[in-house]
């Protein structure tokens, strides 16, 4: 309803604009840009520090005088984390990649099917099942890490990909979001597919999923980021260094016996790189996903 009334309203507003500019808001506008610019600089400082420290030598980082830029860019630092014998950084990156990708695929598969079932398949107890799912939203997963750890260790899944990935797949929140999305999916498309003789599964895979790729992409982006960045669960499960994810490896650098600054910051930079790519190329879906999850959440 509101969407139909807003476009003409914007047109009405157009003549008002020059008035605002004339009444001395050139200063206001400049002030706005200065304030935004300063805030932006503050927000960028940590990124600058990662790059600065990653490309400097340690004597320069710890030197008497603050240096804004390395006197000579140390490109050779790039391989340092991989050559360090105390932490198997390459292995931890690989573990994070495996866990991040499988976590994302698994979550999307399991939660989207369930969300669709709850939203679209008529079943008399569907509401009761839905409340059982909603109930889990009340209990944050972080708080249940002690009992979950107990369960996973009695399954013998400590230090395994299974232990890192499987317990996190069944997100009530993701299922809930998929349900909300499918409730708004046009019924006509599925009905056409059913008329053509497809069962529920056939209609889901051939019609519903291909027409929902935007939403799937948004959910995938968010799920991957949270999977890559998660720390508490991998810390609890990855007890042997060979099962560390990159976040656990970074955490261990901080408490290490000797601290080599340029190496630690290069490792941090490399650990952030995949997500920066995600941001650069998938930002559209990410923003859409956040707006969607936030409004529902």
């Amino acid at each position: 309803m509101t969407t139909t009334t807003t476009p003409p309203a914007e047109r009405v507003e157009a003549p008002a604009r020059p008035r605002r500019v004339r009444s001395g808001s050139v200063i206001g506008s400049t002030g706005l840009y200065v304030a935004t610019g300063i805030a932006a600089l503050l927000f960028l400082i940590p990124f600058y520090l990662i790059v600065r420290n990653a490309l400097m030598t340690d004597p320069e980082i710890t030197g008497e005088e603050w240096k804004w830029f390395p006197s000579e860019i140390q490109w050779g630092n790039f391989t340092k984390p991989f050559d360090d014998p105390s932490v198997d950084f390459a292995r931890s990156m690989w573990n994070s990649a495996v866990v991040g990708v499988l976590h994302t695929l698994g979550t999307l598969l399991v939660c989207s099917l369930a969300g669709y079932g709850l939203a679209r398949i008529p079943y008399k107890h569907a509401n009761k099942v839905f409340y059982a799912v909603l109930g889990t939203l009340m209990v944050p997963t972080a708080v249940t890490f002690v009992p979950s750890f107990v369960l996973v260790s009695s399954l013998g899944w400590i230090d395994t990909y299974r232990g890192l990935i499987i317990p996190g797949l069944f997100s009530g929140f993701t299922c809930f979001l998929f349900r909300q999305y499918f409730l708004g999916f046009p019924k006509e498309l599925e009905e056409a597919a059913r008329v053509d003789g497809l069962g529920y599964m056939g209609a889901y895979w051939r019609v519903v999923v291909p027409n929902s790729l935007n939403f799937f992409a948004a959910m995938a982006t968010i799920t991957f980021i949270s999977g890559w960045n998660s720390f508490l669960w991998p810390l609890v499960i990855g007890q042997d260094p060979s099962a560390w994810t990159v976040q656990v490896a970074l955490s261990n650098y901080m408490t290490g016996q000797t601290i080599t600054y340029h190496l630690i910051f290069m490792a941090t930079a490399i650990s952030i790189l995949p997500l920066v790519f995600v941001f650069l190329f998938l930002q559209r879906w990410l923003v859409q996903g956040i707006a969607q999850t936030g409004i529902k959440g």
Binding site: L32, Y116, P147, V150, E188
Partner: protein, 321 residues
């Protein structure tokens, strides 16, 4: 609107669907398909969410040190131990201080950024991306930057270098609880990581405010700026603000990563999850008391969520469906 189109399109459909019906059989059975779709998820939910909760409920009534299959029933003793445990109760106090600072601060910062970005005419996408970019960084990586570079307690830390320009001596930001400078470090990390995320929510909400409300206000003589912000923008953002505050509160309750990495083994500044981590998975491996603590926290979170839901009318739309 939608009901009209649905009727219009679907009325010819039943006529066509009728001959297809005999072919449906099991494949078209709704209840079978319901379980086919939701089954994998529900089994996982039962095993990995409900089972741990119930198991820990059971464990919490037993003396369970170094074992998860205990046989010594102790009744409510674990709960008594946790609720009288100075560290655990203290951690709830730590959380309260933390939430009281971080929740309003993040709310105000993200709203402020959203208002600024929303008013920009050029480079809006650029600035939005800049503020949003920290969302990509993990708590561990951000803690590392804060601990090793910005708030490094030694002379070459960025903050100490900066304050050195004014002749201020080096400050040990994290290594001492007195004065509690560590709060500055912890709060700024989370603020930097979260503000952009909630800014996106506020921008979306700002763009949903009907423009004619501002026009009507202008006709009534309201000055753009503080007056319209206070009487139009803020009330219109009520629903989003409620959601943001609830999300921030629950997130703060679960704070672990930055406390663990910034303060590591120190005894001060421990929120509930850190306390539980050391209690259940530390040297004592006391699963009974750890489970009791986890359940106490769960109940507290549920109470806060429900209470806020009641006050703000959150989720009412859901129930009416």
């Amino acid at each position: 609107m939608s009901t009209i189109t649905k009727d219009g399109v679907s009325s010819p459909a039943p006529a066509k669907a009728a001959p297809a019906k005999p072919r449906r059989g099991l494949r078209g059975s709704p209840s079978l398909n319901f379980w086919l779709f939701t089954g994998p998820f529900l089994i996982g939910l039962a095993v990995f969410v409900y089972t741990p909760i119930l198991w820990s409920l059971w464990l919490s009534f037993f003396e369970a040190r170094f074992t998860v299959t205990p046989d010594k029933f102790v009744g409510l003793e674990n709960y008594v131990v946790m609720l009288t445990d100075e560290d655990f109760v203290g951690s709830l106090g730590t959380f309260t201080v933390f939430a009281a600072i971080i929740v309003p601060l993040t709310w105000a910062t993200s709203l402020g950024l959203a208002l600024m970005v929303n008013r920009l005419r050029f480079m809006r996408a650029f600035f939005r991306s800049v503020f949003f970019l920290p969302t990509a960084v993990s708590y561990v990586a951000a803690s590392l930057i804060w601990k090793m570079s910005i708030f490094n307690g030694v002379r070459f830390g960025m903050m100490n270098t900066f304050l050195g320009l004014f002749g201020i001596d080096n400050t040990a930001w994290l290594a001492s609880p007195d004065p509690p400078w560590y709060w500055l470090v912890i709060v700024t990390v989370r603020l930097w990581l979260q503000a952009g995320f909630y800014m996106i929510l506020f921008i979306a909400a700002l763009q949903n405010i009907p423009q004619e409300m501002y026009e009507a206000a202008a006709i009534d003589g309201a000055k753009p700026g503080w007056q319209t912000f206070w009487h139009i923008t803020l009330p219109q953002l009520r629903a989003t603000s409620t959601a943001v505050i609830l999300l921030l509160l629950v997130a703060a309750y679960q704070a672990f990563d930055e406390f663990f990495n910034l303060l590591s083994k120190t005894t001060w500044g421990r929120p509930p999850l850190i306390e539980l981590y050391y209690k259940a998975l530390g040297d004592s491996q006391d699963y009974g008391a750890g489970s009791a603590g986890a359940l106490i926290l769960t109940v507290l979170i549920c109470l806060v969520t429900l209470l806020q839901g009641k006050i703000m009318g959150f989720g009412r739309g859901e129930e009416s469906k």
